[in-house]
Symmetry: D2
Subunit: 408 residues, 4 copies
Amino acid sequence: MGEGQGARRFHLSDVAETRLPKLPRRLRLGVVGGGRGAFIGEIHAMAARLSNCFDIVAGALSADPERARLSARDWYIPDDRAYTDFRQMAHAEAAREDGIEAVVIATPNHLHHAVACAFLDAGIDVICDKPLTTALADAVDLVERVRQSGLVFGVTYAFAAYPMVRQARAMVQAGDLGRLRQVHVEYVQDWLTEALPPDHKQAEWRLDPDRAGPVGCAGDIGVHASHLATFVSGLRLTRLRAELLVCGHPKPLDDTIYASARYEGDVPGLLWATQVAPGNACGLRLRLYGDRAGLAWDQENPEVLRLDVFGEPTRLITRGVGAGVGAAATRLMRTPRGHPEGWIEAWANLYAELAVAINARRRGAGVAPGLLDYPSVVDGARGVQFIEAAVDSSKAGGAWVELEERLQ
Amino acid sequence: MGEGQGARRFHLSDVAETRLPKLPRRLRLGVVGGGRGAFIGEIHAMAARLSNCFDIVAGALSADPERARLSARDWYIPDDRAYTDFRQMAHAEAAREDGIEAVVIATPNHLHHAVACAFLDAGIDVICDKPLTTALADAVDLVERVRQSGLVFGVTYAFAAYPMVRQARAMVQAGDLGRLRQVHVEYVQDWLTEALPPDHKQAEWRLDPDRAGPVGCAGDIGVHASHLATFVSGLRLTRLRAELLVCGHPKPLDDTIYASARYEGDVPGLLWATQVAPGNACGLRLRLYGDRAGLAWDQENPEVLRLDVFGEPTRLITRGVGAGVGAAATRLMRTPRGHPEGWIEAWANLYAELAVAINARRRGAGVAPGLLDYPSVVDGARGVQFIEAAVDSSKAGGAWVELEERLQ
Amino acid sequence: MGEGQGARRFHLSDVAETRLPKLPRRLRLGVVGGGRGAFIGEIHAMAARLSNCFDIVAGALSADPERARLSARDWYIPDDRAYTDFRQMAHAEAAREDGIEAVVIATPNHLHHAVACAFLDAGIDVICDKPLTTALADAVDLVERVRQSGLVFGVTYAFAAYPMVRQARAMVQAGDLGRLRQVHVEYVQDWLTEALPPDHKQAEWRLDPDRAGPVGCAGDIGVHASHLATFVSGLRLTRLRAELLVCGHPKPLDDTIYASARYEGDVPGLLWATQVAPGNACGLRLRLYGDRAGLAWDQENPEVLRLDVFGEPTRLITRGVGAGVGAAATRLMRTPRGHPEGWIEAWANLYAELAVAINARRRGAGVAPGLLDYPSVVDGARGVQFIEAAVDSSKAGGAWVELEERLQ
Amino acid sequence: MGEGQGARRFHLSDVAETRLPKLPRRLRLGVVGGGRGAFIGEIHAMAARLSNCFDIVAGALSADPERARLSARDWYIPDDRAYTDFRQMAHAEAAREDGIEAVVIATPNHLHHAVACAFLDAGIDVICDKPLTTALADAVDLVERVRQSGLVFGVTYAFAAYPMVRQARAMVQAGDLGRLRQVHVEYVQDWLTEALPPDHKQAEWRLDPDRAGPVGCAGDIGVHASHLATFVSGLRLTRLRAELLVCGHPKPLDDTIYASARYEGDVPGLLWATQVAPGNACGLRLRLYGDRAGLAWDQENPEVLRLDVFGEPTRLITRGVGAGVGAAATRLMRTPRGHPEGWIEAWANLYAELAVAINARRRGAGVAPGLLDYPSVVDGARGVQFIEAAVDSSKAGGAWVELEERLQ
């Protein structure tokens, strides 16, 4: 509770100081993928707008020219910056004086690596969807390119930008839970409960190994679960054994993953993700247990952390200034306690942090240590490592697979 | 349940058709009040941005020149459109070719009427905070001016723009509850539990009769409760008896209101609002009971409606496409089920609806009947009528006071 | 939190000392009313058995001989102690060497007074259902008789015997809430939502003024709400204004009561009870707000108290040893935390306390001060006073009615 | 929902017919183990009393004479039937005309087999705690003895006697969930979070391999989880792989088990039990997912089932007559909807069912098919099989272990 106690007497007007710094102007943003019919493109766009840190001014929203143009108009992008080819866009924008300063990659997974390379090569900072790539070698390649270029590269594990997830991470760091003993995470959905029509745009590419990569559920939502567990616990995943299952209708990729995991210090835990559990829309839930306290968070009720110090009453810590909530969370708040913030706000937090990072890099300026905590290209690569380990273990009948540290 | 059953097999990609129409371009918006230190100004600004229907291009954000300029820069408003006087702003903007097309009034209550008049006179559509005015005569005057001018005038009862509030209203209209028998609403907060420092910007004007009007809690949050009850029930408030109380520290205006109400058809109900109930941040909660079913909604958990058809299991209807959710709610959704939307999203819904109305008016075009359902100047005036009736009843020892129908 | 902190390191085996003392043997109990078809008779019987403090050995369970005999056999009462007349039972049992030591009165309300008199006159301790009587004069008479006889007389406000209600009361007494500012209580049910068949045994007498008394809902459940509010707050009800309403189908007595109340020290509050709110089975809910903290309890989730100290996280205090739970609650527990106790357990607590009182009285022994906290005949009479005040106020159009202190 | 729909218009007075039959008299019950200081003995005793089906008349409550006598007096057992040796008790009671008709075995695990044999040999029906035995061979032996003797033998998986667990089982059987696809169960506690004092009576024997058997957590609570999963799903456990872990302080037996399971038809699921997760008192939680619906139940909130038919609103089915609740649950109810029943009531249901079975056996009468559903000696033996398989798998590094069908 050390994190929050000092903040108790804060009031809303005191919060300004803990907020992220204002930019001198909004940054110019481009988007690749995510045009009409795509689910995630509009989410990126709303987050960028809500953050008030970006203007979306260019896009390669579809390979289909008509769709690309119409999608661009949806977002009030001028026709001459509505591209159909991401390489052309990277060149053209890099050449403009008012060219984009950052790009969002919202394509199907198999294109992430190529698109990222094109924009990194053009010196443009990148915001990329997860999973980072469909092969670990590509992910490692991106880590290397980012290191060499010095560019900003964020990965949209957006759940990690909920204020109360940051609060949870801060509390674990502060020792509020004591030494961690168990890490349990699950991500339970139901949208694949019934066979979807063959033209369902979301299901189509996410279940196609050529575009989604070697896994279905494990790559689509399993990586979120794995990231959240490591992000909040502060512990790296060191080994796992996994079963990739098809519990629902027959399909080319898994719709369910069961894994037993070990985190740094040999801390054990279970990880479960599925897309065929009726009644669960987006049930990403984390439970951590230490020798002093337990902590629980549920994405469908993201404003509240449950803290159970052993031998004391349960505490519900609600997003808001004071009352047990510290700076890591307060920094990312937009509304007072009881005025719910949601998923787009979490995304917008990620965009706001990336804008600060990008602005600082472009001005050659620094950022106060500890101010930003967005998922990096390394976090993205670790997700791909998780996927590969799960595939390897599942193929080996659930044998333990070690995760090398080469991404440190 | 008639509202939602047909929608059961909807998927996210089908929703486009039910959404509000896209505008040809974003509208130009000005803001009066709401500068640095104000709580509600930033909320308006975030809603406008998230809606993607407005660009904020001008503002009279403070009467203090320095504060006005700095506040404008916070929002990237050019210095030459950072006004310090709202009348000057109305004239100047009306004269520009690229002048604002709508204005937001986010000042303390006592200025609403004068600011609204200035912009209505300049032919500019208005988005105004609640309570509409501090005196009923002024509210009636605004109703008349809006009628004569034909301008759009929205009042920011933003809670009424939560998708599940719209769903509730649609279900009542569809008869899912049967004939209504009781209407219970409460709005419970705790921010005035302890005496605030004298310079607390929020408390300062909200507790000052010269700026807040004749009531404190009743005007600040009681009107929200009263509006929500009438909006969802579809029943006008016809009479009430009220006690205006100071339950917390001595203060010049009430911090608590208890009222017994009668709605059209003599349907009874209780209304309770307070700002001194520890543990309640923004507890706006509505419960309606009919002869067929009961319905409950809580603003702190706004994604869920509880429906209890007598003799059947409780149903939890969650925001999302299908599963009992109909068009009135679906139209205002941004994210799929389980990906929480919050309070800013509700505000942005209001902004999106007003943008459609303003765009249509300016183009001389119509809007499909039933498409828009934002609170109007009449709804705002009814709120002032509620306040006056509460004051009159409380002064008369809790006697019944009738609410005339002249605002129909 | 002072109540519980010291108890933190308690374990289950430590609890024995805080428990009620064991009796040397089970007491002999008789029952009047509550035979086959009655709802409440079986509840009394289960409570007596679970308490392990009583054996039910005699009964006048019905005026109908056949029903009386069959009902007695249901409880394994010998035929020769299955009476049809309560006066006969009082005489016969008083004359037996192994006669009953206490009697339960579970008849319709209008008989409570006469039955109580018969057994008090016979020197037998009484456990009586609420409301105590149908007229205040009768209630005052019983108070006087109990005083003069020195007999034990408990009234079955059984909700007051939930451990966490005792915990709430102890916390208020200990000052955990600070000075009380508001007392809100509601008791919401739905069983009268639809018109019941004319032979429905429960509805029949409860809606008959000749047997139920001058009120319906207010007497059946309103008195529970009123008692709970005063029991936990520790504040006497001093005045109220009330509306007795029929919100559901036409019926001879109210199915709904709205009241504005004032408690000692002029602390205000609302009281609402209704039987026609679909989705509410037994929604007795109490919320107290002080200048330091708020507290909430809900009978349908009786194991948990919600405590909100202003400026701190919400605390959920769960029934169980330690973790914020003190002696007043621990004394009445049967199972460890997380192993739910329910409504019959609360009843059994009342029976256990009354057994200790009755045993002590019969042995001429005392009871440790503060050990017992069951509702007395005075509490019962106060309930009747509440009913009379509600009737008077409602008839007078909702005027304030003072409650005299003559029952102190 | 087929289970409940027909029951919609039931009222409390209609329930009598669905209840278990009344016995002509209470049965005489003896108890072995469970004396003063034991946690579970008093639970058995309360259940027996609440059921109103048994009188406790004899006991071997402790091997220590003084403790045995005092414990017996706690329950008003006459001194001459307070035994210190279970074999002596079996003989003596079998010889009495008014001897016990059934015995409860509430000793530490390692004695279950010997005690059960003594009473079975004496022709006395048995109610035995779980796990049935500490070795599978002993369990198989008991199955055989029960078959040959024709005696009644119930095992106290009491959670399976909650009405809403019965309702869940009935709904699965009725096909409300469609074909089952996943079975998830967890049993999470925290009482071993900190090292307990060496003389802690509960921890002492439960962590001693000589008395608890080959496992700690897996045998104490894992078997409950495993039983619940199979009981509600109606599917036998066919294979599993398990890790037995010590997550908390060093101790001789596991405090945590992770298992991946396969049920009949190769339906997969996870099973997790732990005793070191702060904030979880008795978190036994089951989630089943079929191709039509999902279902969830939580022991700490046992009155409610959550049913999610895919594409429909969530349904909360609450214990009570009608409203989706069918005969299997209604038969075991004591109180109306909203008047909480708890854990002791579940135990009492088990006792009531066993009393019907014992009474019928002793009279040579039959029982209506489907009326009783208590856990049998075979269910007990399956629990021991689960334990052995978990031990074998854990020793083999988490290899799959098949569970033979010899207990069918």
